[in-house]
Every structure is written in structure tokens, then in C-alpha cells.
Subunit: 340 residues, 2 copies
């Protein structure tokens, strides 16, 4: 398997990207292709003193920056690490592309270069959502499009279910629709339609889910539009970090509690880790003709390493092909329904 890595994407590129690749390369036999300015990647590789043979460099002279306009950047910077990397996956020279670069450009680039899977109206960025004291869920849409039609929400549920099953090994993952209440009749016209479509699909749809239940893993695939998804991700982070901060402050308030603080330090640290996106291997773009993973712009060595390791099943499990097949099956069902 060939893993393609954007060597120039993110705040810590190429240093952290190369170091993360080296850490992963020591653990796996697959080839890792780092795309970017050859001399920069080589210099970093030399620093790492890596002796293995499974890291290769693909020269790409341009870099898409965080300030670049997505569509323009993909069209004009044809020699950029991002465009070159995505093209490798398109041409079968790579099995998965991983990037910490400009999110908008990566989503647009994936759509333009790899193309949408037949039957999919809108590819989407999904995000791993850290649940409290349990296994993480998948949130779709994580903020790619602020609005969604019922059909888009159906697609998010289908693709998310396939991804969690094939990549995370979940059996019949529970798919839930974020809504105002659990009753079928709740919500907007869009969520009401989406409810009916998700209910009819061949997935384990558990119905509407209230936001209160999301952090405890009530569903493994959290379906919502990108506006709500953005609120869920950022609010969870805001509430969690601030509570931990408050607790720390309360602990430090007086001498009596300083003792308790010391005792609790390791517990709080482990809780912070549960909220650490770096542990989870990045966010998949679903609905395009090839596996693509977005990692945070601020990703460090560990995040890059984890994205590579967690990316392997996404590259190997034919997720794209299974999504394509499920969309064809869905069309057949709809056509049959219409004939009857």
C-alpha cells in the first residue's frame, strides 16, 4: 500500500510531517511518499537518521498556504504538494492522501481532482468526536457546508456508517440525527425528511438524538449539517477545557486542596488526552473517489504518525467502492418504490 503525505501542509511542516512519517515508517511495511520541496524534505529526513527504505520523496515545488483561496489555489498551483498528492491517488500511484494544509483547498481539491462518487450529491468532511469515558464517534458534517438538504443528511449517515464499520471495526454502528427532540415530528422540514430517508436506509438508524446525549456516545455516527456540526465540535471543546481549567483553579485555591491537586494531576491529564484530536488520526473526507484525510494545521509528530497508522484501513478496506455500491443499491430501491 502507498500512503501519500502532504509534506508542506500545516504550521509545523515539513519538520513534524517528516518526523511523524519516520515514526510511522518504523512500525509498518507500507511505503510512505512525502510530497513537497525535495531539498527541504531530504534535510529533515537526514536529521531524523532514519535508515528504513519505506519513505520516498516526491518533488513538488509549490505550496498552498492557509491564506490561499481554495478554488484558485487548486486550479493554479498545479505543482503544489496538495495537487500533486491528490493526483497520485487519482492515478493509482497512491492509496490514500493525508494533509494538514488549507482545509477548504483540500475539500475542493478532493472534489475537483478525485471527483464525487457517483450518486453522491455532496462530499463531506467528517470528524472524530471524542466521547466522555467511551469510544469516539464520527461527526458528519464537521463544518464543510453550513446548510444541508435532507438528501445530504442521508448521504452523511450512509457514508459515516460504512466508514465506522470498515475503518473503526464497529458492528452495525448506531446512526443518530441531531434534533430538537427524539420524536419523529420534531425539527425543521429538512430534519423531518432526513429522518424518513435515514429510517428507510439499510443502516442502524436509531432516530433523533438530542445534543445532551451526543457527548456520551448515544450514537456512533452523529448526523447534522455543517453549522450544527461546527457548534457541536467547538462547544464541546469550550465547555470541556473550561471546566478542567476551573477545577484546576479551585484545586489550587488553598493549601488543603493543593494536596488534592497533586493527587489528581494524572487524572486530569488523562482526561485532557481524551479530548485530544491528535490521538484520533484526523478527519476523513467522504464521498470522493479516493481516501483523503485532513489533519489539524497544528498537528505535531504524534498526530501525523497516528493519521498514517489509522489511515491504513481507510486505504485498504475499499470504503470508496462500498460507498459507490451502496449508492447504486439506494437508487435501485428508490426506482423500485417509484415503479410500485
Amino acid at each position: 500500500m502507498k500512503i501519500v503525505l502532504d509534506g508542506m501542509g500545516g504550521d509545523n511542516a515539513p519538520g513534524a510531517i517528516v518526523k511523524g512519517a519516520v515514526e510511522a515508517a518504523k512500525l509498518i511495511k507500507h511505503d510512505i511518499y512525502i510530497v513537497g520541496r525535495k531539498e527541504d524534505i531530504e534535510a529533515e529526513l537526514k536529521k531524523s537518521k532514519f535508515k528504513g527504505k519505506n519513505i520516498k520523496i516526491v518533488d513538488a515545488r509549490e505550496v498552498i498556504t492557509m491564506d490561499d483561496s481554495p478554488v484558485k489555489a487548486i486550479r493554479r498551483k498545479t505543482e503544489s504538494s496538495m495537487v500533486v498528492g491528490l493526483t497520485m491517488v487519482k492515478d493509482g500511484q497512491g492509496d490514500i492522501f493525508i494533509s494538514g494544509g488549507n482545509t477548504g483547498a483540500l475539500v475542493v481539491g478532493a472534489r475537483m481532482i478525485l471527483g464525487r462518487i457517483e450518486g453522491i450529491d455532496r462530499p463531506v468532511l467528517a470528524s472524530i468526536y471524542p466521547c466522555l469515558g467511551g469510544e469516539p464517534s464520527l461527526l458528519v458534517d464537521a463544518g464543510a457546508s453550513s446548510e444541508a438538504k435532507a438528501q445530504n443528511l442521508l448521504e452523511y449517515g450512509l457514508m459515516g456508517s460504512i466508514y465506522m464499520e470498515k475503518v473503526w471495526g464497529r458492528q452495525q454502528p448506531k446512526v443518530g440525527l441531531v434534533n430538537l427532540g427524539i420524536e419523529e415530528s420534531k425539527g425543521t422540514s429538512v430534519t423531518k425528511d432526513a429522518y424518513q430517508q435515514l429510517k428507510a436506509a439499510s443502516i442502524n438508524f436509531i432516530g433523533n438524538v438530542e445534543a445532551r446525549e451526543v457527548p456520551v456516545g448515544a450514537c456512533e455516527v452523529i448526523v447534522c449539517d455543517g453549522f450544527v456540526g461546527n457548534v457541536i465540535l467547538k462547544l464541546t471543546e469550550g465547555v470541556a477545557w473550561n471546566i478542567l481549567k476551573l477545577i484546576k483553579n479551585k484545586l489550587m485555591r488553598n493549601v488543603k486542596n493543593k494536596l488534592a491537586a497533586l493527587m489528581l494531576k494524572s487524572d486530569l491529564k488523562s482526561m485532557k488526552q481524551e479530548f485530544d484530536y491528535e490521538e484520533y488520526g484526523g478527519a476523513p473526507i467522504l464521498g470522493v473517489n479516493g481516501p483523503v484525510i485532513k489533519i489539524h494545521g497544528s498537528s505535531g509528530v504524534n498526530a501525523v504518525k497516528n493519521a498514517i497508522l489509522k489511515g491504513i484501513p481507510y486505504g485498504q478496506e475499499n470504503v470508496v467502492e462500498i460507498i459507490r455500491q451502496s449508492m447504486l443499491d439506494l437508487e435501485e430501491i428508490i426506482e423500485k418504490d417509484e415503479e410500485e
Copy 2:
């Protein structure tokens, strides 16, 4: 001032309502009118051994239940405590109405019986949002309508600002629009329009606010549609309670930490209190011709007492009149703009 209380609304009615009224009546000189089945209220009042003269009973034979359909209930149950209480405010026999009954019916009843303030397209339920380690904010819309037009979001910002200034004593309260990012260009067509309208209004609009900043009180009036508002309220609750639960469990895990647990017990308890809606005196309905406050269906004695005490400035400060005037001013500005 005459405070009108729905004696039959909520899970703990009439017991907790009467007890809460008694606790409040001991502290204030205003009259409290409890509306409901006379014999039931009298029996509860007798139990409380209250000797004051500022609690009065208004007989109302019907009760609107949680299962009643809002519009039907308001139209048909004309002898219900809710309809009788709202009518008292409409007729000037009461200055504020407080109810823990069916939320939908209360919102519909307020609109139908008191009527919308001239110029207001949509009255709304606002909710006090407990910020972490700081003063609470006001969230508008708290879930009354799942969708909103730009004009509605403008109204929410205006009314919320007036409410926080007059009832909570905030000077030029900071009004923020919940959005995907802080840039003016972010969000849906609705949030983009709302941004421009809020920016032009005579309020302290601080621009877009990301969900991450909401729990730390980045703005004192949080403007969003009811779907997003519902997600913010419920997710905050879900994340906060579950983190506190996790911490408690981690503390209890071993003997070493049991000591720490004892030391921290009071700290955790005080944090829980910060999230306790009972402390904040209920949720105002804004945009109708009279002050109305919704308290939780599960409200206990303390919640009822606080709602009465916090309700006093809402009843006294002419909030309704100020909202009406600000809508007239707004119309003048718009007309002037159009003439130019």
C-alpha cells in the same frame, strides 16, 4: 406590583409553587396572585402556615397538561390557570406572569392573549445561559422556533440587549451572533444578513462568536436560531455533567484519591450549582405585550422563589415599552435609509 403565578403548571404543582410563593412573599412587599384550583392552593397554603397578607388566590378550574396541544389548549381551556393568568396581565390586573406549565402552550398563549409587540415579527423564548466561572449570559432563541430569518435574529439581539440591561443591570451588554467563524463573510445567507442588520442596530454588537467562546461569556446576549440554541443548551449540560461525573468516578477509583475526593466534594458541588438553572429565575418570553417567564416543569421551591424575585425588575422596568419604542426607532431608521 402584582405578580401572577400559575399554580397548576409543572410536575411539582401546586405544592412547590405555593411553597416557593410563600418563601418569596416573606422577602417582598408585592402581591402574589396564585391562579389555580382554589381548594388545592388553599390546602397547600394552610400547610405552609404563612401569616402574611400578600398572597392571594385566583380560582381557575381547568389545567393545561404537558400532553395538551398548545393551540387547542389555549383556545379551548379558557378556564385554565394559564389562560386566566395571561388574561390578568393583558387586562392590567397583573404585571408579570410566571408558569412552569406546557412550554408550547405558554409561548402560544402569550402570543395569542397578550399579542406581539408592534414591529416584532416573532416573539421568542430566551434562556439564561450559565457561563463557567462568570456571570450568566442570555441565549435567544432557546428553542421556540427551529428556523429564523435575518430579521428574527436582529429582533433577538435587540430584545435580548434590552432585557439584560434592564433586568440584569448590564451596561451596554455585548451581543454576539453564533457563527462558524468570526469573519463577516462566514456562515449562511441568513447569518450574513443578520450580521449586517445587527451591526447597524443601536446595540453593542461584537460580531460573530464561535461556539468555543460561548461558555466563557464572550457575549452577554447569544443570538442564534432555536435549533442551534437548543443544541447549545443541551450540549453544554451534557458535556458539563458528564465531565463532573467522570471526575467523580476517577476520584473514587482508589483509596489514595478517596481522600482527594472528600477534599474536593464541596468544590464539585459549587460547580454543579453554577449549572443549576433553578438559581437563575427562569426564561423570559420576549416580544409579547407583557412580561412572561417560563420556569422548568421540574422546578422546585427554590426555582419558584428565584423566578418571583428575579421577575420583579422584568415587571417593573417597562421592558415591553422599551422594546416597542426601539422597534419604532428602527422603523424610522429604515424608512430614512430608504428615502435617501
